[in-house]
């Protein structure tokens, strides 16, 4: 499999409902065998995009090609895609076996082959021996796996998944994430996965498209999204972060020294920044540390603490009125009291440049 093989190509694909634009014209290549996620808040257009690929919605403009062939005008039942629905949509009147065999029977596959393929896929999703169960006899996680098997057994070019883990409890979600990755690797099928849960997208995906208001904010690997968010939106969506506005105070080659509400950082590889430029920075809570008196760079009043088990989230008050979150491993002893002045330290490269001239400088 070459890296260049493209399974899905969106060319200026947009969708309007009436005069409301849900998806702005999008361009995207999804590679063969890739686990690709569309990540964004509800209403960002991610599900609509997925449904356009499936053929459940028609784009108002642009072209979708799957394995090089345009699928515009091809009805849903004739597309080489299969979908795992958010609400599963299993058929309650059929057994597990007949649910999975539904697509194969429609294609007039021989009985013998149906039996072989269904039992093979039941093995893949670890439901051997469950073929004759009724759907109502299965747990949520088992139903989930039947829904995946029912789609995957048809050997689609692309498997589309619409927030399939949303209804499961956290333990099961984490387990099913690992299962999904295992199934995807085992089948080699291209997965397009829609979710609003950044942890899910980061944990499973090869690449993620972060969507906001019908547009892609950034299409990148999970690591790049986390460490090099392209916008304030992406930085905030990758989990709790401190977004601070600051100013370039000094320039030394391609190193820019910035100051943000008393915190100073060095940004590397910033040839175009000049002294006096306004910047917007993202500083992740785990890049800031509690410090002893000697090595503290700054001392701030502690507003409150949130004990989270392994870690503690400390919230400090900045002179400008904003808050600053710091995440640290929980101490074995007592937590510092709110109201105390606590010293902080950080590495010079702890900040990420989000924006050169911030339009709005809010922090949370």
């Amino acid at each position: 499999m070459t890296a260049a093989a493209i399974d899905i190509r969106l060319s200026n694909v947009g969708k309007k409902f009436g005069d409301q634009t849900v998806v702005e014209p999008l361009n995207l290549d999804i590679r063969q065998g890739e686990f690709f996620s569309l990540l964004g808040p509800s209403g960002c257009g991610k599900t609509t995009t997925l449904r356009m690929i499936a053929g459940l919605e028609a784009p108002t403009e642009g072209e979708i090609t799957i394995r090089g062939k345009s699928v515009i005008g091809v009805p849903v039942e004739r597309r080489p895609t299969n979908m795992v629905f958010q609400k599963l949509a299993l058929f309650p009147h059929l057994s597990v076996f007949d649910n999975i065999a539904f697509g194969l029977k429609l294609k007039r596959t021989s009985k013998h082959e149906i039996r072989n393929r269904v039992s093979a896929i039941l093995e893949t999703v670890k439901l051997e021996g469950y073929g004759q169960r009724a759907i109502s006899q299965l747990s949520g996680g088992q139903q989930q796996r039947v829904a995946i098997a029912r789609a995957l057994v048809n050997d689609p070019a692309v498997l589309l998944l619409d927030e399939p883990l949303g209804a499961l409890d956290l333990q099961l979600q984490l387990h099913m994430q690992q299962e999904l990755v295992r199934i995807q690797r085992a089948s080699g099928t291209t997965f397009v996965y829609v979710t609003h849960n950044q942890q899910e997208a980061l944990a499973m995906s090869d690449r993620v498209a972060v969507m906001n208001a019908g547009r892609f904010e950034q299409v990148d690997t999970p690591l790049a999204l986390f460490h090099r968010p392209a916008s304030e939106f992406v930085a905030r969506f990758m989990g709790q972060t401190n977004v601070l506005s600051g100013e370039v105070t000094a320039k030394n080659g391609n190193e820019a020294h910035v100051s943000a509400q008393g915190l100073t950082f060095v940004l590397i590889g910033q040839e175009t920044l000049a002294v006096g430029d306004k910047v917007l920075l993202s500083i992740r809570p785990e890049r800031l540390h509690l410090a002893t008196q000697q090595d503290a760079k700054l001392s701030l009043p502690l507003l409150r603490t949130l004990f989270q088990g392994t870690t503690v989230l400390y919230t400090f008050g900045l002179p400008g009125g904003d808050e600053l979150n710091v995440s640290a491993l929980a101490p074995s002893g007592a937590l510092p009291e709110a109201g105390q002045q606590v010293g902080l330290r950080w590495e010079n490269d702890a900040a990420i440049l989000l924006n050169r001239s911030p339009a709005e400088t809010s922090s949370k």
């Binding site: 499936a54 053929g55 459940l56 009805p75 849903v76 039942e77 004739r78 895609t81 299969n82 979908m83 629905f85 958010q86 609400k87 599963l88 949509a89 299993l90 058929f91 309650p92 009147h93 059929l94 057994s95 007949d98 539904f102 697509g103 429609l106 294609k107 004759q132 169960r133 009724a134 109502s136 006899q137 029912r150 789609a151 048809n154």
Partner: protein, 278 residues
């Protein structure tokens, strides 16, 4: 559950027992009593009289055939109507649609029947309009057709309600899932929608058939004397004080209805997947 735990529930259903079950059992006992004794002293003689009379069989056939066609047309019209109602999202549109559908039930059955006469009689609205076009007049009432159309009108809501509730219970995105798995619209209907709404279809058949087989006023008024059904015959026999024969006919009607409903129940069980037991 012990009796003590059950007693509040027994208390709650006691009005049903008093109002429905007791009178039902009492009158049934009475009818059975009449059917097997009656004025003719030996009941079986009345049964023989009823069974050997070819007229009885003709009436039974008329009753069943009329009820079957009413049921069929109620389903044929009611199924798409229920589907359309289920699609209506705006509360206003739903309100209007339900009002229109259920208006027949707001009127007395007599008023409704005479309403149909205004439409269907030889000088009625339909024939007048057709007359302008140079057609007719057609005989639209005082016959089988008149009874049929008026009964379908009355009983349509009883078909739509159970259909609507089963259509409402279709799994969300089930239709889309079937399409996505390669089913064309006809296959979706036959393989997913029909089996999943079968409980509603069977309930609709049960209710409409039972009502249609025992209907008296509508077939009497719009069928005139030409549509002789069992309920009509029972009425006539009570009028002529042949209570034993009326009782025999009542039991026959009850027996047929119970038999039909029971068969439908069994039929419904064939289409459900209960799952392997282990």
């Amino acid at each position: 559950m012990t009796l003590r735990e059950r007693s509040p529930w027994l208390l709650l259903i006691s009005p049903v027992v008093v109002l429905v079950a007791l009178p039902f059992i009492a009158s049934l006992a009475l009818v059975i009593g009449f059917g097997f004794s009656g004025r003719q002293a030996i009941g079986l003689e009345v049964w023989a009289r009823f069974i050997t009379d070819p007229f009885s069989w003709k009436v039974i056939w008329t009753t069943l055939w009329l009820a079957a066609r009413v049921t069929f047309f109620c389903l044929l019209i009611g199924y798409p109507v229920a589907f359309a109602l289920n699609q209506l999202k705006s509360p206003l549109a739903r309100g209007i649609a339900f009002t229109v559908l259920f208006t027949p039930l707001l009127m007395s059955v007599i008023v409704r029947a005479y309403g149909w006469i205004v439409l269907l009689s030889s000088q009625g609205l339909v024939n007048s309009v057709l007359g302008i076009a140079g057609l007719g007049p057609f005989r639209l009432m005082l016959n089988d057709f008149g009874a049929l159309i008026a009964m379908v009108h009355v009983m349509l809501p009883f078909a739509v309600l159970p259909l609507l509730s089963s259509i409402n219970q279709l799994p969300p995105s089930g239709i889309e899932a079937a399409r996505d798995l390669g089913a064309n619209p006809v296959q979706v209907l036959l393989r997913v929608i029909f089996p999943l709404t079968l409980p509603g279809i069977l309930s609709a058949i049960e209710i409409v058939f039972a009502l249609a087989a025992s209907a008296f006023v509508t077939p009497s008024i719009l069928g005139g004397g030409r549509v002789l059904t069992l309920p009509r015959l029972i009425y006539d026999n009570i009028g002529s004080l042949d209570w034993a024969l009326a009782a025999v006919q009542s039991l026959t009607l009850l027996g047929i209805t119970v038999l039909v409903l029971f068969s439908l129940r069994r039929l419904g069980r064939l289409f459900r997947y209960e799952g392997a037991t282990r």
